[in-house]
């Protein structure tokens, strides 16, 4: 079980900022995205504009294998605009 955080546009599309999801312990980042989009289909429109941050490290959507621990934090990060 991981905590998923949503920000900015991803929070708008998902309709929430934070939730707990059950996902396989080993999963590619793309598969993780697809799991999340099943629950929040509106997120599909930003597929090309997001990255994950897993335990505060950036992860691109792709074949990278993630090894997740219970309680890990996964954030859906749209393009950044601070500063």
């Amino acid at each position: 079980q991981v905590s998923v955080l949503y920000f900015a546009r991803s929070a708008e599309l998902a309709g929430l900022r934070c939730e707990t999801l059950s996902v396989p312990r080993q999963i590619t980042s793309l598969q993780l995205w697809e799991e999340i989009v099943k629950i929040h289909p509106r997120l599909a429109v930003i597929r090309d504009q997001v990255v994950f941050a897993v335990q505060q490290e950036y992860v691109l959507l792709g074949d990278q294998l993630l090894v997740l621990q219970p309680g890990d934090e996964v954030a859906i990060i749209p393009p950044i605009s601070g500063g």
Binding site: F7, R9, D48, A53, I80, G82
Partner: protein
């Protein structure tokens, strides 16, 4: 003399209250240093011909702080004589003319330091986990930095 003042420190704050340039400057004062570089970012009242009413900032707080600390570390590697660094960024609602971001590096040498604060802030833009909405009259838009490394730049 207080020896702990000589240990370089990073002061990072993301907060919803009005930022104080005095406070940011005072954080980095150190008796052994003779110069301060200060960068101030403020809200503009227009973007591409549209009138901007205000900005709304939100942040992935823990990660933003982690990333700023990494930048501070990189700054110190590049310019070892930098002493204290303070980065304050406003969250929530910013009316125009309000300060949104200030960063200060206080170092022994004046030359080139004025450039450093600007360089550091530009480095922050693509990395910082902050989001901003420009609120126009009747509509809004989430802004995207050009330097954001994961967006498809050929849109």
């Amino acid at each position: 003399m207080d020896e702990s003042e000589d240990v370089p420190k990073d002061f990072i704050k993301l907060k919803s209250e009005k930022l104080s340039i005095d406070e940011v400057s005072e954080l980095v004062i150190s008796p052994c240093c003779g110069a301060v570089s200060l960068f101030i970012g403020t809200t503009r009242n227009n973007f591409e011909g549209k009138k901007v009413i205000h900005l709304e900032y939100e942040a992935y707080m823990s990660m933003a702080e982690t990333e700023i600390k990494k930048i501070c570390r990189d700054v110190r590697q590049k310019w070892p004589s930098v002493k204290h660094i303070a980065v304050h960024h406003r969250l929530g609602n910013c009316l125009f003319k309000n300060v949104c971001i200030g960063s200060v590096c206080w170092s022994p040498h004046l030359a080139c330091r004025i450039l450093d604060a600007g360089v550091m802030t530009l480095t922050i833009f693509p990395i910082l986990c902050l989001y901003l909405q420009e609120i126009y009259e009747g509509e809004y838009s989430w802004k995207e930095n050009k330097e954001c490394f994961w967006t498809n730049s050929e849109k």
